[in-house]
């Protein structure tokens, strides 16, 4: 599949009476945004705000982060099966608004995490301190079921991102890059001497606030399958996950999956990037076994030489990760895994909940239990009400001077297991 990705760099966001993108500045009408968000009757109200890098602003509790994109040519639309009709995406032309993100925030459940600081020490850890953020904070209607409301906020975020993306449809991208993978036979002919490499992505799939959707299908109901990595770039995988802020994959990370980008960079030079394989992380152990068996089987059937496996979330996915690694290695396919660690506040506990000798090539996103003090910031978008209850925050989280003592696990994207960041540990 061949996808041309046009990048349009956004330098500023401003509220305006009319929505448009002009000279790299996104002007958005709050009213229009509100109308898009409130299409769902589970959402009682929504407020919008803009947070810019370097500002003394804290956004919390964050649910999802989304990069606006628009499908300009080719089948389907962005977020297929979710807000666009089901159609295979990944070919043609897509434009992406770089340097900005739509952030959904606000309470879904009575405990909730996810902090984005736009300045200070917290900003060093979250990748979303570097983007111009259009933040939407939703409130549910009285008596809305948690499931229904979670879904409503999730979809509202995608609609708003799509609305913003649509503003770029007729623009000229600042930069264009072509991503293309080959069919099996083509690839064998074109790159007979290059190692065949795939990307195995594990998707969180366990229940409310722990779900991921592929073309709108709940990932816990899939068996492992192959995709063109360009499909992912068109929003074929979206997040419904808002627990474990530090190591869940917001939709933004799926759209900009760093493993895909970095494998494409080597594609045709040192490797033949064959495809992406997606698998899940279910609760039921027999599911874990089936999925890891299948993943290894697919690797074998594709005659792969090597794979990179990425994880998502805390605890039980360690088991999926190790099972995948062990079984794929047993098929003679060289494996590198990406994870993060929970080594305790002192860094001395066992980092993973599972281990195997086959996992001899590990990349880590760092210890999520590390404590960090976040100073009081001038403005909070969302609410601090729940901050004392967020994961990793202890009873004296909110200190006398208004600063927060928290573990990295509450910071959105801090120890991402797709290798999105530079944080690591030894």
């Amino acid at each position: 599949m061949r996808l041309e990705l046009g990048r349009i760099y956004i330098k500023d966001i401003q509220f305006a009476s009319e929505s448009k993108i002009e000279d790299g500045v996104l002007h958005v009408s709050e009213e229009a945004l509100r109308a898009v968000a409130l299409k769902d009757d589970k959402i009682a109200s929504v407020s919008f705000d803009i947070a810019k890098p370097g500002e003394s602003v804290r956004i919390t509790p964050v649910k999802d982060v989304i990069e606006p994109r628009v499908k300009v040519e080719g089948a389907g639309g962005v977020f297929p099966g979710v807000i666009a009709k089901v159609d295979t995406v990944g070919s043609g032309v897509t434009y992406a608004l770089k340097g900005m993100a739509v952030v959904t925030a606000g309470k879904i459940v009575g405990f909730q995490e996810g902090i984005i600081d736009m300045t200070g020490p917290g900003a060093d850890y979250t990748p979303f301190s570097k983007t111009l953020n259009l933040v939407m904070v939703c409130e549910p209607v009285e008596g809305a079921e948690t499931h229904d409301y979670e879904r409503a906020v999730r979809l509202a975020g995608f609609r708003v991102a799509a609305y913003v993306g649509e503003l770029a449809r007729d623009l000229e991208p600042d930069e264009t890059q072509v991503y293309e993978t080959c069919t099996i036979k083509e690839g064998m002919k074109k790159y007979p001497d290059l190692p065949r490499v795939a990307y195995v992505q594990m998707l969180q799939s366990q229940g409310l606030l722990h779900d991921t959707y592929v073309y709108g299908v709940d990932a816990k109901k899939i068996v492992p399958t192959i995709m063109s990595p360009t499909e992912t770039m068109d929003g074929a995988i979206v997040s419904g996950n808002c627990v474990s802020a530090c190591d869940k994959n917001p939709t933004y990370v799926h759209e900009n999956n760093p493993v895909i980008e970095d494998l494409f960079e080597q594609h045709g030079k040192t490797i033949n990037f064959v495809c992406q394989i997606i698998t899940n992380e279910n609760v039921y152990l027999a599911d874990k076994q089936r999925s890891s068996d299948w993943t290894a089987k697919i690797c074998k059937m594709l005659d792969l030489d090597g794979v990179i496996v990425s994880q998502e979330g805390f605890g039980n996915p360690d088991t999926d990760l190790i099972m995948n690694c062990k079984k794929i290695e047993a098929e003679g396919v060289k494996t590198v895994i990406i994870t993060d660690e929970y080594a305790g506040r002192d860094g001395r506990s066992q980092s993973l909940a599972d281990a195997d000798i086959a996992a001899d090539a590990v990349v880590t996103g760092g210890n999520a239990n590390q404590v960090v003090v976040l100073p009081k910031l001038d403005k909070v978008i969302g609410t601090l009400d729940y901050v004392t209850k967020i994961a990793g925050a202890s009873e004296d989280t909110l200190r006398a001077d208004g600063s927060l003592e928290v573990e990295l696990q509450v910071i959105t994207g801090a120890t991402n297991e797709c290798g999105f960041n530079k944080l690591s540990a030894r």
């Binding site: 060093d124 190692p195 490499v197 760093p258 493993v259 980008e261 970095d262 494998l263 960079e265 080597q266 040192t270 490797i271 030489d305 090597g306 794979v307 990179i308 060289k334 590198v336 990406i338 994870t339 660690e341 080594a343 002192d346 860094g347 001395r348 066992q350 980092s351 993973l352 281990a355 195997d356 000798i357 996992a359 001899d360 090539a361 590990v362 990349v363 880590t364 996103g365 760092g366 210890n367 590390q370 990295l408 991402n416 297991e417 797709c418 290798g419 999105f420 960041n421 530079k422 944080l423 690591s424 540990a425 030894r426």
Partner: protein, 350 residues
């Protein structure tokens, strides 16, 4: 500001006294002197610090008189009253490495003076002391002196100032089991791709998180003569005298038990029980022999099947997978077993 005072420890070889034939050279304090590798150390320490004295000790002298030598050297360090204690580098010299580790750990624990040392990562001293003192990783021979000092000196200054240290790969110390976060130059995905390319090409690559405890030890040769062998019992099933006199914790125990069974033929309900919290204790409390078979071993001893049942048994609590602390315990009591002339061990686990 006053200069940081450094005390330096080296062996007889690096003090140019002699090789193996001089390894019995007793501990000696040279106040105000910089000896051998101390020159390179002083150079790398720069203007901020000065070496206030060097302690020289033969490797055999140290290892054969562990307790007295340690005490003597601690007194010398006290006299120098440094801000930091530096031992080595020991490179691949095994006894020198063990001496550096032992004395550096003792200075730190008993005198409260920060200490660092340096050696090759396969030096036995590294395995024994890497989680007790910071050990700079060096090459396996003195040819790596320059490179070693370049890392050792700044680390010594940092610990002297009480600064928070970065990750092992930044500071150059041997990973010590404490995970420390830091920012890499490349993002994780890029590092993963690079690692995969190296792995595919059969090149060396360094995992960022070594899987715990998958090293293997070759089996020891079997006992030749059972009828004269002294055999010891060890258990991870937490068997202790009734009342748990040493207060062994039921899980994640901070110490192990060593108990004398001289004259004990049978572990009865009246005198023994389990301190283990990891399983239903009913049976072990009723009859501890079902975890630690003292009764059968005594029969076999009486019948002459085995030479002797060792009069001490060792007991820890902990399940099959929680091995981290148990390892350190076992390393310690295994030495005692060897010293007591034990020839084989039966280890029972629940």
């Amino acid at each position: 500001m006053a200069k940081i005072k450094v005390a330096h420890y080296i062996n007889q070889f690096f003090a140019q006294i002699g090789g193996e034939e001089k390894a019995n050279y007793p501990a000696e304090l040279r106040v105000g002197e910089i000896v051998g590798p101390g020159m390179a150390l002083a150079q790398n320490l720069g203007d901020e610090a000065e070496i206030v004295g060097t302690i020289v000790c033969g490797d055999s002298y140290f290892n054969e008189n562990l307790e007295t030598a340690t005490a003597e050297i601690l007194d010398m360090v006290k006299e120098l009253n440094p801000d930091v204690f530096v031992a080595g580098p020991a490179f691949n010299a095994g006894r020198y490495g063990v001496a550096c580790g032992t004395i550096a750990a003792a200075v730190q624990d008993q005198l409260g003076i920060p200490a660092v040392t340096a050696m090759y990562d396969e030096n036995p001293g590294a395995e024994m002391f890497k989680d007790k003192v910071y050990i700079v990783a060096t090459k396996n021979s003195a040819a790596g002196m320059r490179a070693a000092m370049k890392k050792l000196a700044p680390l010594a200054l940092k610990v002297a100032r009480g600064e928070k240290l970065g990750a092992s790969c930044e500071e150059g110390y041997i990973p010590n089991g404490t995970r420390v976060n830091f920012f890499e130059k490349e993002r994780g995905s890029k590092r993963a791709v690079k690692m995969l390319l190296d792995k595919l090409a059969g090149k060396k690559f360094a995992t960022e998180y070594p899987m715990p405890d998958f090293d293997r030890v070759d089996p020891c040769p079997p006992l030749k003569d059972l009828t004269h062998a002294k055999i010891a019992l060890v258990t991870s099933g937490g068997i202790v005298p009734k009342g748990n006199p040493d207060h062994i914790e039921s899980s994640s125990a901070s110490h192990y038990g060593e108990y004398d069974i001289t004259g004990v033929d049978d572990l009865t309900e009246e005198f023994y029980e389990t301190a283990h919290g990891g399983y239903d204790p009913t049976y072990a409390n009723e009859d501890a022999d079902c975890v630690l078979p003292v009764d059968v071993m005594r029969d076999l001893e009486r019948e002459g099947v085995i030479g002797e049942l060792h009069h001490l048994f060792y007991s820890v609590t902990g399940n099959g997978t929680a091995v981290a602390s148990a390892r350190a315990f076992a390393a310690e009591f295994a030495q005692k077993l060897v010293a007591d002339g034990v020839q084989a061990v039966i280890l029972t686990s629940t």
